[in-house]
């Protein structure tokens, strides 16, 4: 029996297949047919019932069932024969001369790099956590190149190797390992990691989502200056119990947003600036204030945000299906059945909003009203 999950959302169904770890949005009647196919009912019997139900010919019904089976069920129930992770032959270079120490949730991490470029991939976001204390090291990362791949080793164990085009996965895995270490939870205990900013007020969080360049991080920094607590920027971990955890990396502020934030954060004027040539972007990092590693609180709503100079302020409830379409491809969601079920259950109860603004005051008020159930 193939493992799958199903959830009705709005007027459609979402079906999750374990074998492919895919989420499929389809008509409820199509989801029922998929269930019947997965329950090993014969195609003839399924088609016959369908023909009667829709008053169509057996031939038409058979075509529909075959189409769903061939295009949807079969491709998503065959376990992807992923290339096994090859532990490539590598030798840790003896000259990992660039060393940094970070203090995160009372743990000291030592990170050794073979060259300055590798250091530049990780250090800027964690620079504010650097410590001179290096007597008791809890974990040691080693970063080096071998066979044209960047390698990551943690406490002597090979974690992975990535091509240059997949650098964001190398950086993501480094962040994930930090999270696993500081919260003593392995990867299977996390429901997912979301490409969002997380903001806290009292004992709840709101996730701020949106495409890159929409202003997630700037909105987060503005909200932090208003007394909301920054929980995470860019990388939001949520565990199986559906609680959001703090991730203390710096908030990336694009050059064009610096002037907007100088009033609240005067030190940004002299902060180190990093130029990402590949994307023609220049950013500075803003350390999050009052990171609380003990705060594990639920998420109250998803807000898809967009800064738009031509629009003063607009907020509306968003179609859950549209939100789902935006959320899933941009997230890492654990492929275990338990976590996928937790994710669907979590999403089902999550209100989703679309917020477009250029008026900061109205944006703060709207976020506060969502927190206080007044919207």
């Amino acid at each position: 029996m193939h493992e799958f999950l199903s959830k009705a959302v709005e007027n459609k169904s979402i079906v999750w297949f374990k074998a492919s770890n895919s989420y499929i949005i389809l008509e409820e009647i199509a989801a029922q047919l998929v269930h019947q196919i997965l329950e090993n009912k014969t195609p003839q019997k399924i088609a016959s019932t369908l023909a009667e139900k829709l008053t169509i010919s057996e031939q038409e019904a058979t075509h529909i069932v075959k189409n769903l089976n061939d295009r949807l069920v079969i491709p998503n129930t065959i376990k992807n024969s992923e290339a096994p992770t090859i532990k490539r032959e590598y030798e840790i270079p003896s000259n990992l001369t660039f060393k940094k120490h970070y203090l995160i949730n009372r743990k000291i991490f030592k990170v050794e790099f073979a060259n300055e470029f590798q250091l530049s991939l990780l250090h800027p976001k964690f620079a504010h956590l650097e410590t001179q204390e290096s007597s008791k090291i809890d974990h040691t990362f080693q970063v080096f190149n071998s066979n044209h791949l960047i390698h990551l080793v943690l406490d002597g164990e090979f974690i992975g190797a990535w091509e240059s085009k997949n650098i964001h996965y190398f950086q993501g895995k480094f962040s994930m390992k930090i999270i696993e270490c500081i919260y003593n939870k392995n990867e299977a205990e996390w429901m997912g990691v979301f490409h969002a900013s997380a903001i806290n007020f009292k004992d709840e969080n709101i996730l701020i989502l949106g495409d890159s360049g929409n202003g997630k991080s700037t909105s987060l920094a503005l909200l932090q200056a208003q007394g909301f607590q920054c929980i995470a920027d860019d990388f939001v971990p949520i565990d199986q119990a559906q609680n959001v955890y703090s991730f203390p990396a710096g908030i990336s502020i694009k050059k064009k947003a610096v002037s907007v934030l100088l009033k609240e954060y005067p030190t940004l004027e002299t902060s180190a600036e990093y130029h990402y040539e590949r994307l023609n972007k220049t950013v500075r990092y803003l350390p999050p204030q009052q990171i609380d590693y003990h705060k594990k609180v639920p998420c109250k709503a998803l807000v898809f945000i967009k800064y738009d100079a031509t629009i003063d302020f607009e907020i509306s409830e968003m179609s859950k299906l549209k939100a789902f379409e935006n959320l899933v491809p941009d997230s890492w969601i654990s492929s275990s059945s338990k976590n996928a079920a937790s994710f669907l259950e979590w999403f089902e109860k999550m209100p989703c909003y679309q917020l477009t603004y250029s008026n900061n005051e109205l944006m703060y008020t709207a976020i506060k009203r969502i927190f206080e159930d007044e919207l």
Partner: protein, 69 residues
């Protein structure tokens, strides 16, 4: 039932059908729309691994500078 076009005799005759027949035809097309919808779906794949936003990638183009060699 057929009726002649009163505006232009050169234009071919229009076909008029009864309300009942029209509803039947619409119903048929509605049915096909519904059948098409059954076969229409969106497949969403989450990321295979944790990733940072791509705008944190590389201060410099690594390949061009030989850092991965």
């Amino acid at each position: 039932m057929k009726s002649k076009n009163p505006q232009n005799d050169n234009v071919s005759d229009e076909i008029t059908i009864s309300r009942k027949e029209a509803l039947k035809k619409i119903g048929k097309y509605g049915k096909y729309t519904a059948l098409t919808a059954i076969g229409t779906f969106i497949i969403l794949h989450p990321k295979k691994a944790q990733a940072t936003s791509v705008d944190h990638s590389g201060l410099i183009t690594p390949d061009a500078n030989g850092f991965f060699d």
